[in-house]
Each structure stands twice: as C-alpha cells, then as structure tokens.
C-alpha cells in the first residue's frame, strides 16, 4: 500500500492503495465516484472511460501509480450541473436505455469534440467505435454527438 495524490475533477484526493490498483477501482471504491463503470476490465468496452490531461483513457487498465500529477476528469466532473453540451444532447436525443455504458460513451464523445469540434460522421464512428452499447443505442449516440457539436458552436 502507498499513498497516491491524485488530481481529479479539479480537486486533490488521496488514496492509500496498492500500486497496481486500476484507477477505475480507486475512483469507485476509494473516492466514491461510481459514475465510471466496470464493464470488462481489459480495455475492450469503454465503460470505464475518463479523461487524463483531456484525452480519453480506459481507467480499468490504468494503474493508479501511472497517473502521477496528470489531471483526471470523470463524468462527475465533466460539468458542475450536468449541463455539458454532450450531456444535454444525450438527454435531448433520449439516448440511454439501460444507461450503464453511457457515462463512458459521453466521456469519449466529450474528448472527441474537445479535439475536433466539427467531426464528420466517419470521425464520430471512429472515435466511438471503442465503446460498446449492448442495448444498441448507436444511432442515437451518433445523433447526440452531432447535436452536441452544434451546441458547442
């Protein structure tokens, strides 16, 4: 066990965990930030997506010891009131079904739009292809990313 200082959602946190503990479990079990989901544990489904220095990463395979002083953003920190354009678009298009994968989808979409505010359909598909939705909400996800992109004008 060792004490790790983490910068998450603009705050400082400490977690006393083993070095190889994936960031996912530190968020969920040590810090109570459960919006980041466990889906596969091997970076295949995207449910655990968070931002590290603004880039979408899979927290289920990211050891806490590798985070260092890089800034982490989770779904809880994407916006203060849940009104990030991507979150608003997700509600407006009524994307979620079971909803379990959607925080990961939203984090991937938000990272994409930050880098590329006007993505083409192909660029959206490429960026979102790593996130599995078992309910099959893909059409609405695509529609919501476009809407969010328009909102960010």
């Amino acid at each position: 066990m060792a004490l790790y200082k983490l910068q998450i959602n603009g705050r400082n946190y400490e977690a006393d965990v083993e070095a190889d503990t994936p960031l996912l479990w530190v968020l969920r079990e040590n810090l109570g930030l459960v919006g980041t989901k466990y889906g596969c544990g091997i970076a295949q489904c995207g449910a655990c997506t968070v931002h590290m220095n603004g880039t979408a990463v899979r927290s289920c395979t990211l050891p806490v010891s590798a985070v260092g002083n890089k800034a982490i953003t989770t779904i809880e920190g994407l916006s203060e009131k849940g009104d990030h354009p991507v979150q608003l678009a997700w509600d407006e298009v009524d994307v979620p079904q079971c909803g379990y994968c959607q925080t990961g989808q939203i984090m991937t979409a938000a990272a994409l739009l930050k880098k590329n505010p006007k993505p083409s359909t192909e660029e959206i598909d490429n960026a979102m292809n790593g996130n599995i939705c078992r309910c099959g909400t893909y059409h609405r996800i695509r529609e919501a990313v476009v809407l969010a992109s328009n909102k960010m004008k």
Partner: protein, 708 residues
C-alpha cells in the same frame, strides 16, 4: 385510502466519503414518499404542493418501463408530467402483481391496472372539487394537474384537492379515456432517469455500497460437468485486504475489503476440479446435432394432415438445415448482488428481473419464510434474460450467511461470460413439399436443442397455412446451463424459418412478399388446425414494410423480407443491400411493428432499433464455443459484440390500429437475421444457414458493413 406514513421508515441507504462530490446511493422504498402526501393507490400519491409521485414496480433494464408505466398513470390522471416524480418500488407482492421483466409482458399485463390507477384518482379529485364548489361533477374537467369549472372559471390544483379527495369513496368502476383523447400516450417522452444516467449517479447494483460491507468474488467450476476436488486457499487468504476464503457447494468465495484486492487474491487460489458429469465440447455438439436430427425418438409438437403422403406425391422437395451456437447475455453490468443475512431476516439489494424469484429461492436456501426477506431493486445495467436467474443472488446470500456480514458479490466479466445460463445451441432441419404448381403442400420442421426444452414454436406461422405439417423436437441434456435469452428460441428460429421460407419462395418462383401473403390468405380461407396468430396483423406489418421500403421497385438494391410474431406483437423487416466494389453492403433495415398502441414513441423506437442492432449483431458475430466443458470465449476481446461502425441505417414504422399494447421488448429482434440473410441471397445467390454469419463460407469476400 391512507395518508402516507412519515418518512421515518423510509429506506435511505447511503455512504459518505467525506468528499462533497461523491454521491450517495439511495434505495428508496415507497415509504420515502414525503410526509403529508396523500396516497391514492399502490402507484400514486399526491403532495399538497402538487408533486405527483408514481411508483414503478417493475425492474428497469433499459426497456424503459420506469418511464412508460408512470406515463400511463399520468395520462388517465391528466397530470402535469413535468411535476411527476417516479420512484422504483421494492418487491411488494401485496401491492403489485407481476413485478417481472420478461416475456415482453409488463405493459400488456398492467395497461388497464395503470390506467385505472390514474382514472380513479382523477375521479376522486373531480368529486372533491364538485363537493367544495357544490356543482355537479359532470360540469368539471381536468387538465395539467388542475380541476376546472368552465362556467365560473374556478380552478383548483390537484395538490389543493388531494386531502379532500382522499375522503371520497374509491369508485368500483371508472370510465377510461377514449384513445383519441390521449395527450401523453403515443408521444415521445424522455427517460425519467436521463439526468441521473448522464451525470453518473449511483443507480446500478454495482454502485451500491453499505458501510462495513465486504466484497466477494466467487470461483465457480472452471468447466461444466466438473466439481471441486480440493481447495488450497492459504496463499489467497494471506493476501492484503482479504478477510476470508469460504467454500459452498461447488464454489469458492474470496472475501475482502476491496474489489481489486479480491481480484488479485483470487488468482492465488488453487482449486482442483474433477469430473462430475459429461464433459462436452462444441465438436461433440456438432456431431450430436447430426445424429439427433435423425433420431427415432422425437417429441411431436404439432401434426396436421398426412405429411408422408404429401412428400411422396411432391413435385419438388426442399430441405435445409440451420444451426446456431450458444450465446452469452453479456449485459454491460456484470452479475452482482448485495445480501445481508441477519438473525431476524435477510436484506437483498440489486439488479434482478425477478425479485420474487430472488426472494423465494433465498427463502428456500435458508429455510426461512419469504416474508423475512426484503428485496430492493436497483436499476439494471442490461438483462436480456440473464437476470431472470437467481444464481448470482444466491452467491451473495451464501457468502453473507457464512461471513455473518453484509456482502456484495461481484462477478468479473469473465465470471459473467463463463457463468452459464446461455442461449442454447440449436440445429433445425426444414423440409417443404411443393406440388407441380408450386404450392407448399407439406412442411416439416425438426429442432434439436441442447437444454433448449421445446426448440420449436409449433403454432407459429406457417402452421395453419400448410395442409400437411409435422413439427417435432429432440432434446439433448447437457451440464452446460441454459436460460431465456431475449426472445427465447425465436431469436434464432425466426431467422431459420424466415430464411427457409425464402428458399421455398424462390424454388416456387414466387416473390417472397407475395409468397408469405398468399400463405396467410390460405390460412384464413382454409385454416389447417388451430391458428395461434392474428392473420390480419401479420399481413399488415408485411404490407407496411413492403410499402415503406418500396419493395421490388428500387434499382441496384437487393431486398430481403422477414416477418415474425413473437410474444404478442408482429414485426416485419426489409433489409437492403447495395453492391459497392463488388461487395454487397448492408445499407438499411426498414421495420414495421405492430405492438398495438404505442405508449412512448421514443422508448418504442429504441426497442425496435435496439432489437434490430441486437438481432443483427448476434446473428453476425455471436458465438460461444466450448472445449472440454469450458467456454472458449471469456471476455469482449474474443466474444464479439456489434459496434457503432457495424450498424446499418434503421427506419421504424408502427401500425396504428388502436388495440391495447401487446409488448415490444423482444419482438423486433427475431426478424432481423432473416431479413439480412434473404437480402444477401438476393444480392449474391448465397444462402446463409448458420450463425454467426461472419464465419460462414458464404461471407468470404462479402463486406456487409459499409465502414468495415
């Protein structure tokens, strides 16, 4: 009629992390309705401030029941939807019936109950206003949570009237709205949990936390047909954060303080297994299928006329076999459950499609009365039938009992995929006899299933339309466990049947749409035996799908049709392919669905579109194989689920026939595989007969997804 009790008894389960950002998970029982609220019935209460609280009793797994149910109550109540608060009810068999998510049956079952719940309260609110104003109730109207007296211009809100309305006798009969006066039903209403879902609030079983609870992972036998020979848990027990390692039945549970510590300790576990039953591999099943298709011992499911004579006199016989593998349900949230077995009772919290089963199986296991057990429902991160089982609930109960502590059992993705209860593997043989004019005079279907039960649906189309027909099934009992998987049996049978009918239509040189319509006309004109489907509804969806897709009118587009009746609803689909760089590309799927009245247009479109994506994805990629009793796929790296780039465009239409809702959680899935395969045949002359398509010889050089 009673006033809701004060909130003291309400269940507020929370955890506090000492950080302002961390959320508290609340599992709300119905006592959480605020003090002072007037409870009208099991579903509904109204606060003096006008907040309408509607309980949603059924498990929510993405079928949108938590929005649809309250919507129906609110419609008859004439409630202001923006002021409706929806709460998930816990298991309560005294208040609710059929708290189950399965069989696409919730709305058909509860439609009238929910409407009456709203209409009764509306009646009482109007009566209360009539009394206060001393006017006839007939002179009053209600809208937007307000009762109006048009003559005088007086109005009172439901909140103001709630207390007085509670004193009005509950009417035995109440008039329900005429469908044409629906204001909410049939419109697109957004999911009531959207905000919580898109902000990452704790909603799911895996998010549940109780101060002092332990985390457990359970090592089930590594292969079906094996049992524990020996357990060496010394190394695992010595790992940091581990509280104990306990064994029950054929399972070993590693119990500790955090999920990661338990995950690591589990790898240090040394469990030896020995053979207990048959150890089967997929190659054994392939051989068994072929043997059992010729078995002399089959269970006859339906028999009409003289099949042997019809085939002897046939001008042409078509015979084909279709096969599918096992499938895992793989909801995105793996199995998990919280249990606290105490001296005086048991508390269960988590994601289940059948809370009543969870309770009853727990009662049976512990030898206690079910009324000592409470079940709170979290949101379910998908289910697809897997959470109809209670095995993972019992894991939590067993470990909590042994540890004498509150325990949350967490299955890893690997546990989830190897943990059984699969869609059974099935092989079908279809035979059709045509006379010289191309009429189908004989039809045979044999299904061989591995723990599939009846692998046929003997009364489905084309039964009733063919004079001589024999449908039977053969079952192989295997240690590999199976269970209901979204649209049980029909999730593959529909593909096989609709592909085979396409084969027959082409052999008879009849357009596939006309072929199906002709058969339905024949079933009406001279029905053979009992008809268990609605001929008009089935014809209507075929015609609507053909119309919307411009069937047979498009140049350079190859179309395939498929239609299926499952549960209580009817869905027809037309898939379209275009040739690009000498490869057929799946461009679009049109769907025409008849689920009766559409309750929520947004949710209904999700069910149809999602059902098509699910149906296409699994037909295309889904495959769980076994080697020596163990599943060969354990995670999404080699168990392929459909992704965004692979979905075709989908266009959804609903039949507007005004009949009561007939369910939509499953019926859009079965037709998809057949529509795609029939379109591929039209485009290439190649016939897909086995799933997953991606492994078929016919798919070589075929690039179904445009962006693949």
């Amino acid at each position: 009629m009673k006033l809701a009790a004060a909130t003291g008894g309400g269940l507020m389960l929370g955890f506090h992390w000492g950080t302002s950002e961390a959320s508290t998970m609340e599992v709300l029982s119905d006592e959480a309705i605020a003090a002072g609220d007037v409870t009208f019935n099991s579903y509904l209460s109204i606060s003096p401030e006008g907040v309408i609280t509607i309980m949603s009793p059924n498990p929510e797994l993405g079928q949108n029941i938590k929005t649809s149910f309250p919507l129906i109550v609110a419609e008859e109540l004439d409630a202001d939807w923006s002021k409706v608060k929806v709460l998930q009810a816990p298991l309560d068999t005294a208040k609710f019936e059929r708290q189950v998510t399965g069989g696409s049956g919730a709305v058909p079952h509860s439609w009238e109950r929910l409407r009456k719940a709203g209409a009764t309260a509306r009646h009482m609110l109007i009566e209360a206003a009539a009394k206060r104003w001393n006017v006839p109730a007939g002179s009053l109207t209600a809208e937007n949570s307000t009762v109006l007296h048009k003559e005088s211009g007086k109005k009172l809100s439901y909140g103001e009237l709630a207390q007085e309305a509670s004193a009005i006798p509950v009417p035995a009969e109440v008039k329900l709205k005429d469908n044409k006066h629906f204001k909410l039903i049939g419109t697109a209403v957004r999911n009531v949990d959207n905000h919580e879902m898109v902000t990452g609030k704790p909603l799911y079983g895996l998010d549940f936390h109780r101060e002092g609870m332990l985390i457990a992972m359970v090592q089930h036998p590594a292969a079906f047909g094996m049992k524990i020979k020996s357990v060496d848990s010394a190394a695992a027990k010595a790992m940091p954060g581990i509280v104990d390692v306990v064994t029950f039945k054929n399972n070993v549970a590693v119990v500790g303080k955090s999920t990661w510590q338990v995950t690591k300790a589990r790898k240090a576990l040394k469990v030896e297994y020995e053979k207990e039953g048959a150890i089967e591999s997929t190659s054994d099943h392939d051989r068994l299928f072929k043997e059992l298709l010729d078995s002399k011992e089959a269970t006859v499911r339906r028999s009409n006329g003289d099949v042997e004579a019809a085939f002897k006199s046939a001008a042409k016989v078509i015979r084909s076999e279709y096969q599918c593998p096992f499938l895992s349900h793989s909801p995105m949230e793996p199995m998990n459950f919280f249990a606290h077995v105490r001296e005086d009772g048991v508390e269960l919290v988590g994601p289940t499609q059948t809370p009543d089963r969870a309770r009853n199986e727990t009662a049976k296991l512990l030898g206690i009365s079910p009324d000592k057990i409470t079940v709170e429902l979290t949101r379910l991160g998908g289910g697809f039938g897997r959470r109809l089982q209670a095995d993972y609930v019992l894991d939590a109960v067993e470990v909590s009992r042994l540890m004498k502590a509150p325990v949350k059992v967490v299955w890893t993705r690997e546990d989830d995929m190897t943990g059984g209860s699969y869609r059974p593997a099935v092989r079908y043989r279809f035979e059709a006899a045509l006379d010289a004019k191309g009429n189908m005079i004989g039809y045979k279907l044999r299904g061989v299933g591995i723990n599939a039960g009846n692998s046929t649906r003997e009364n489905n189309f084309p039964s009733g339309a063919v004079e001589n027909l024999l449908i039977d099934s053969v079952e192989h009992k295997s240690p590999i466990t199976t269970g209901a998987w979204r649209a049980p049996i029909t999730n593959f049978l529909a593909f096989a049947e609709q592909s085979f009918l396409d084969e027959v239509a082409f052999a008879a040189k009849v357009d596939p749409v006309k072929f199906r319509l002709d058969l339905l006309d024949r079933a009406r004109k001279s029905p053979v035996g009992e008809i268990h489907y609605d001929i008009d509804r089935m014809k209507a969806v075929i015609q609507l799908a053909a119309e919307k897709s411009g069937w047979g009118t498009k140049k350079n587009v190859s179309q395939g049709i498929s239609v299926y009746f499952s549960h209580r609803s009817y869905v027809a689909q037309v898939a379209e392919m275009e040739m690009k760089k000498n490869s057929p590309v799946l461009k679009k799927i049109y769907a025409a669905a008849d689920c009766g009245i559409v309750v929520n247009l947004s949710g209904a479109r999700q069910q149809v579109t999602g059902g098509i994506v699910d149906g296409f994805g699994h037909a295309m990629f889904g495959k769980l194989t076994f080697r020596d009793g163990a599943p060969e796929q354990k995670n999404f790296n080699n168990y392929r689920l459909i992704r965004m780039k692979e979905v075709p465009e989908v266009e959804v239409h609903f039949v507007d026939n005004g009949i009561d809702p007939t369910g939509l959680g499953e019926p859009a899935l079965p037709p998809t595989g057949g529509a795609v395969a029939n379109a591929l045949f039209k485009a290439t002359g190649k016939r897909l007969r086995n799933q997953p398509f991606v492994l078929e010889e016919e798919m070589k050089g075929v690039n179904l997804g445009e962006k693949l």
